[in-house]
């Protein structure tokens, strides 16, 4: 029983456990008096622990310090950029050669949408790298002060996933060299499955990379001025991500209506919109926009609250 309770308490963030963990487990012991943990308790604690994690991460509630809340808002935008990259990879595959194969009458809107998506994703990526360059000095100071032990596991995990992804890419490139375009695009099931596995590993690598950056920045001291710049960059990234997602969805919608044959063999708008690659790309893009909204919303709310309390 005690072990079940201890496992339950681990759902809470470490700082919360340090403050309330002991009394919480004693209260649960008293409440259960030898009985078992019920589904009602699991559900209640899961909801409360998630709330505490969001609160401690600065993503919920008004109690988080302004600096913590701004930092977490900016880091949430960074996650949205990672999902945007993954969604863009799917989109690029979807839109491969569309400029030469789409019917002339349906070309205008997708061409503009594609160009806008390209520019928006590239701009977001440049801004993210600019943000990374700006924190380099602070991060190296953090590493010199023993920060490596904090992020070591995360870095190794990311490096392992990155290594797997690179090896997979080399194998796929050599393999693809011996295949016809039709075999590369679906008729060779084994190649298709391997490609999908590689895509999944690469997506995980992108997310692990961003997670490592998040852990590093979370533990790095940033000056108020640098934090302000990073937050402004995050707002700019969020704007680019929103534009990119809108452009991707416009592209999919306009192609599904104007030339659905490009997205599926049945050549109907419904079939095009419900085909697996379209659903997968749209889902990731929507996830990116949800995270963008969460992160940007957090930044805006915190900024307004800080201004209000100064006034």
């Amino acid at each position: 029983m005690r072990r079940d309770i201890e496992r339950l308490i681990r759902w809470y963030p470490a700082a919360w456990r340090a403050r309330y963990g002991d009394e919480f487990s004693t209260m649960l012991d008293d409440e259960l008096s030898g009985g078992r943990l019920t589904w009602h308790i699991y559900r209640d604690v899961a909801r409360a622990a998630l709330g505490e994690r969001l609160r401690h991460g600065g993503l919920a509630g008004d109690s988080a310090q302004t600096e913590v809340a701004l930092r977490s808002g900016a880091l949430t935008v960074l996650y949205s950029w990672a999902f945007l990259l993954i969604g863009t990879a799917g989109f690029t595959k979807l839109a491969e050669h569309f400029a030469t194969t789409i019917s002339p009458h349906a070309r205008a809107v997708p061409t503009i949408a594609y160009r806008i998506a390209e520019i928006a994703v590239a701009s977001a990526t440049v801004l993210v790298f600019l943000g990374a360059v700006l924190v380099t000095t602070s991060v190296s100071r953090f590493l010199h002060r023993g920060g490596w032990s904090v992020i070591r596991r995360s870095v190794w995990r990311t490096a392992l996933a990155g290594g797997l992804s690179s090896v997979g890419l080399l194998v796929l490139a050599r393999w693809a060299h011996h295949l016809t375009p039709a075999a590369r695009n679906g008729t060779n099931a084994l190649y298709g499955a391997t490609f999908l596995t590689w895509a999944a590993v690469t997506a995980v690598t992108v997310l692990l990379t961003v997670d490592t950056v998040r852990r590093t920045i979370d533990a790095t001291e940033l000056s108020p001025r640098l934090l302000t710049i990073e937050v402004r960059l995050a707002v700019a990234v969020a704007t680019c991500a929103s534009v990119a997602v809108a452009a991707i969805i416009t592209w999919i919608g306009s192609v599904a209506i104007g030339d659905p044959a490009l997205l599926n063999t049945h050549a109907s708008t419904e079939a095009a919109l419900t085909s697996m690659p379209v659903v997968a790309t749209t889902s990731v893009a929507i996830l990116a926009i949800v995270l963008t909204t969460l992160g940007e919303g957090r930044i805006v709310r915190t900024t307004l609250r800080a201004r209000h309390s100064r006034a």
Partner: protein, 110 residues
């Protein structure tokens, strides 16, 4: 049954924070004592996560404060700010109850 479920979910006195402050109004209590007391006077079963979520928020807002731990059980007591906050809620609920009762009397004619 459905009505009971609906009304229970939006009754203001079912707010965990109000229940905890009401319970602490007659003296300090630790987590389990709070759960038992709330069950007794309000017939509400607060989950342990909900209880400690509300305790943490009330403590942050300075409405309750922890006392020294006794055998791993930490009692909490209401602060003067907590008393003021509870008095405010109670008086606003009383006003609401008076208006509701008066209007129900007009509507039903009893």
């Amino acid at each position: 049954m459905a009505t009971t479920r609906i009304t229970r979910s939006w009754r203001p006195e079912n707010s965990p924070a109000v229940l905890i402050l009401t319970s602490l109004a007659d003296g300090p209590k630790h987590g389990h004592a709070l759960l038992k007391d709330i069950r007794r006077f309000a017939n509400v079963d607060l989950g342990p996560g909900t209880l400690y979520g509300a305790i943490a928020r009330l403590e942050e807002q300075g409405l309750i404060e922890p006392l020294a731990t006794e055998d791993r059980r930490r009692p909490y007591r209401m602060t003067p700010a907590g008393s003021v906050a509870l008095a405010d809620v109670v008086s606003s609920m009383r006003r609401l109850a008076d208006v509701g009762a008066a209007r129900l009397t007009i509507a039903t004619g009893h």
